[in-house]
């Protein structure tokens, strides 16, 4: 009996240690040729591309809203958000549902790759890429044996403040 307890304590201590050393799991996905990662704890589910209801007058990166089993959640196109050219939807295109704490939000990506273990030691601070490229939503750059993954700060990527959402106050009907 006491052995069992010792064992369980030990194993939980190990788990704890591993956590503090920062072995984190990331879900990686592709946009074009680049590979990005999201903290797996923020990912609620991955769903195939479904019909998206367009919401008029939203910025291009907001594709619209979907019905996720009765919940209406917004869907953001990361390609558009990052200023990449829009790719045609394929079989592999899918929506990652991210949990922002108070809300869910869908992210359209080209395809999901895998779940990667990356320890904090292998994550480098985001490089400064000059004034043209905004890196504030990059958490860091994760390195594994064979590749480099841009780790995204899900909250910052999906934060739509007054600067990123430009909704015209009045519809443009001047020419009417």
């Amino acid at each position: 009996m006491s052995q069992i307890r010792e064992f369980s304590e030990e194993s939980s201590a190990q788990g704890h240690q591993a956590g503090s050393r920062g072995m984190h799991k990331y879900l990686t996905f592709a946009l074009g040729n680049e590979e990005y990662g999201l903290d797996i704890l923020r990912v609620r589910e991955i769903i195939g591309l479904m019909e998206i209801t367009n919401v008029p007058k939203m910025p291009e990166c907001v594709r619209g809203v979907i019905n996720l089993r009765g919940k209406v959640i917004p869907v953001v196109d990361l390609r558009a958000k990052f200023g990449m050219t829009r790719a045609p939807d394929t079989q592999e295109t899918c929506i990652i549902v991210a949990d922002l704490g108070n809300a869910l939000m869908g992210i359209v990506v080209d395809r999901v790759r895998e779940v990667l273990d990356i320890s904090t030691e292998d994550i480098e601070a985001p490089p400064s890429l000059g004034a043209d490229i905004d890196t504030h939503f990059i958490l860091g750059i994760g390195k594994t044996k064979d590749k480099v993954v841009l780790l995204l700060d899900v909250e910052k990527v999906l934060a739509f403040d007054s600067q990123s959402v430009v909704i015209p106050k009045l519809p443009a009907t001047k020419e009417v």
Binding site: H16, S20, E51, T53, N54, V55, P56, K57, M58, V62, G64, V65, I66, N67, R69, G70, K71, V72, I73, P74, N102, A103, M105, F160, V165, I167, L170, P171, A172, T173, K174, E175, V176
Partner: protein
């Protein structure tokens, strides 16, 4: 007396009350014997406090009487009450108990080791301590717990009291129960004002204070408990008949209700538990003044001497001492209530309603698919239609569960009318009709504040002072009537007074001064509607009650939020009636499905006036840009939704396109759509933060094909075009 004894005492009393609770009406000699034995143990155990012993004795006497009595039902109530008193005593004893080592074992293991900040204050509290528990609880966590720990969204401990873990759920339960009690007590007190001999109301008020006393003790809200205890004692004396529920006694009880309510409201934020435990001078003063009530000379002369001797000796009637000599013939109202209602957490109910909404959508998807596949299996078809029928019923039942009667709000209004009229020195009777009318709970919550403003407004601005009323040949007492009734899918609540009515000239002058109305001669409704404008008041002096110009605009805003309407009727010299029309439920609306640019949108049906296909020449263009639709020489702005949504104009095929004329109550607009699809009930879903700034959408819904449909905000569209 040591800790062990204390525990044993508590356990014994619990055992006895469980036993008695299971006795029902039959009292056999065996159980009497058991209770007697237990009570003897109790009396011996609690060698010190005399009251416990006396009450234990009372229990034995009561159960003996019950065993020999031929009306067992009646006497069992007495046993239960005697036991309740005893339990209260034990609880009080517990509170004054200095140490609580043994109770540590009853707690769960504290916070995980990686979170020392959270466990620290608990350890201090629950560990063996020489500090009196009261002190430890009121001061310990306040000073020791870092703010981070206090704000952490933990479902677990919110602290401990006497070593028992108090969870957030405990607090929520307490708040729910106490709120109910406070409302019931208030209603009872109001009833007692008109009929001081109403025994049901007397018992109700007593029971409510008693319940609050008990449950606040469990959370360690000592000050609240003392206050409820004092109020209960006063109520007990009133019930005995040795104290009248009049004048300052009644006032003190009303104040007690208010203070208890405000403390309870504060507790809605569970982190304020510590705050609520600390004493405040206001509470202490009120408690004292309640005790003072007990020492006033009683009305009935035969009780006078006894009461005086009690107050002379400085004896405070302890907890439930009323019980001993006031075995009145009252019933136990709580029993029948608990049979009829189950208290369910609102969140659970909401998710149930949501899920059923999903089920209904899934059902229509199944039927759609069957239709499109052309399945001609009659057996399957009839099963599916059977299922749909049940689903509809299920949905109706679930929605009905959210409906609550307006009576709770109305009782608050009667209090408002009473207080306001007193403050203003007016004589006003408020009466109510249709308090059984049921509305969705969220609407009832939202509607309560506007109604308070309306009643206050009616008493302050509507009803004249008594002298003026007499001069005008009206009865001295003014009358405010609040009534509610169903009409179609809506509920109409009206507040009417028999005062002097709205002064059209005065309002018009003020409206012109504020620039709300131009030089033209407006119609009556347009004038009266000005009173809902923020900051609008014709009252010359700002009183404590109203006249600041806030109030009616709050009413308007709240009613707008509920997608409701407000109308004013006024008769100079005779009175004013304000009617609020609100939908029965916020969750479901009747909608008209329309198509714009291949996407389906929902227009709330209640906003639609008509749909028409404009003839050539019916559309006029003003200033080269804004189109207006001429509907029977009424010009309404025509809004082409395709252009509003930034879509290209419909290429040619405009045979289906229609203009839907809509109104939000304050203005009209005509929406140019591609085609009309049909009418449908839709479940409203929030659209979320991201779309907060989109002015023309009010929400979303899931359509029967599983896709999201967007609900148009007619008010928002009207405003959009009025601003230009």
């Amino acid at each position: 007396m040591d800790q062990f004894r204390m525990n044993e005492l508590e356990m014994n009393v619990d055992v006895a009350s469980t036993l008695v609770a299971h006795l029902d009406e039959k009292v056999d000699t065996d159980s009497v014997e058991i209770v007697r034995t237990i009570m003897q143990r109790v009396a011996v155990d609690s060698a010190n406090p005399e009251t416990v012993r006396a009450h234990a004795q009372a229990v034995v006497e009561a159960i003996e009487r019950a065993a020999s009595s031929d009306a067992p039902e009646d006497s069992m109530t007495r046993v239960t009450r005697a036991l309740d008193t005893l339990q209260d005593d034990v609880r009080m004893l517990r509170l004054s108990f200095p140490t609580h080592e043994t109770s540590v074992s009853q707690r769960q293991d504290p916070a995980p080791p990686d979170n020392p900040s959270e466990s620290a204050p608990e350890c201090q509290l629950s560990g063996p301590s020489s500090v009196a528990p009261e002190e430890a609880c009121t001061q310990g966590p306040c000073e020791n717990s870092p703010p981070a720990a206090a704000e952490a969204p933990t479902e677990h401990a919110r602290g401990t009291y006497l070593g028992f873990e108090i969870t957030q759920a405990d607090i929520i339960d307490f708040v729910a129960e106490a709120q109910e009690c406070v409302t019931l007590a208030e209603n009872a007190l109001i009833k007692l004002e008109s009929d001081p001999k109403d025994s049901a109301a007397l018992n109700e008020a007593f029971r409510c204070f008693h319940n609050i006393k008990g449950s606040s003790g469990m959370l360690g809200l000592v000050k609240l408990q003392e206050l409820a205890h004092a109020a209960e004692s006063v109520m007990g004396r009133i019930r005995e008949g040795s104290l009248g529920c009049v004048g300052f006694v009644s006032q003190a009880l009303f104040s007690a209700v208010d203070v208890i309510r405000s403390i309870v409201r504060q507790l809605k934020d569970p982190s304020s538990l510590e705050l609520a435990r600390t004493s405040s001078p206001e509470v202490d003063r009120l408690t004292q003044s309640l005790w003072d009530c007990l020492s006033v000379s009683p009305q009935r002369s035969d009780l006078e001497s006894r009461a005086r001797s009690m107050s002379d000796a400085g004896v405070r009637p302890p907890g439930g001492c009323i019980v001993e000599d006031s075995w009145s013939d009252d019933r136990e109202p709580s029993k029948q209530r608990s049979d009829e209602y189950v208290r369910v957490r609102l969140g659970r109910l909401d998710s149930l309603v949501d899920l059923i909404g999903e089920l209904v959508i899934a059902d229509s998807m199944v039927r759609n698919r069957m239709d499109s596949l052309g399945i001609a299996n009659t057996g399957l078809a009839s099963s599916v239609s059977q299922m749909s029928k049940i689903m509809r019923q299920l949905q109706e039942t679930a929605l009905a569960m959210r409906l609550v009667p307006l009576s709770g709000v109305f009782s608050k209004l009667s209090r408002v009318a009473r207080d306001t009229s007193r403050k203003l020195g007016k004589d006003v009777i408020a009466s109510f009709e249709g308090e059984d009318t049921e509305l969705d709970r969220s609407i009832v919550d939202e509607i309560s504040l506007p109604l308070v403003h309306m009643v206050r407004n009616a008493v302050d601005h509507g009803i004249e002072p008594p002298e003026e009323r007499l001069r005008r040949g009206k009865p001295r007492t003014g009358h405010v009537l609040v009534s509610a009734r169903h009409k179609g899918g809506t509920v109409i609540i009206s507040v009417e007074d028999d005062g002097h009515g709205l002064d059209r000239a005065k309002i018009l002058a003020k409206a012109r001064a504020l620039g709300l109305i131009g030089a033209e001669e407006p119609d009556d409704q347009a004038v009266y509607r000005c009173v809902f404008h923020p900051g609008f008041s014709t009252s010359e002096q700002v009183t404590e009650v109203s006249g600041r110009g806030v109030g009616l605009d709050v009413v308007k805003k709240a009613v707008d939020n509920l997608r409701g309407r407000i109308d004013i009727e006024t008769y100079p010299g005779k009175g004013t009636r304000m009617c609020i029309t609100v939908p029965l439920s916020m969750a479901i609306i009747d909608g008209m499905l329309v198509s714009v640019g291949g996407v389906r949108y929902v227009i709330p049906l209640h906003a639609i006036l008509e749909a028409l296909r404009p003839r050539p020449g019916q559309v006029v263009t003003v200033g080269g840009r804004q189109e207006l639709l001429d509907i029977r020489s009424n010009l309404v702005p025509l809004i082409r939704l395709r252009r509003l949504f930034g879509l290209p104009d419909d290429p040619g095929n405009s045979s289906d396109s229609l203009a839907v004329v809509c109104s939000d109550g304050s203005g009209q607009c005509a929406l140019w759509i591609d085609s009309l699809i049909g009418q449908q009930q839709v479940v409203i879903k929030p659209l979320g933060e991201l779309f907060r700034d989109v002015p023309f959408l009010s929400g979303a819904t899931v359509l029967e094909n599983g896709r999201v449909g967007l609900i148009l905000d007619i008010g928002g569209i009207v405003r959009l075009f009025r601003e230009r």
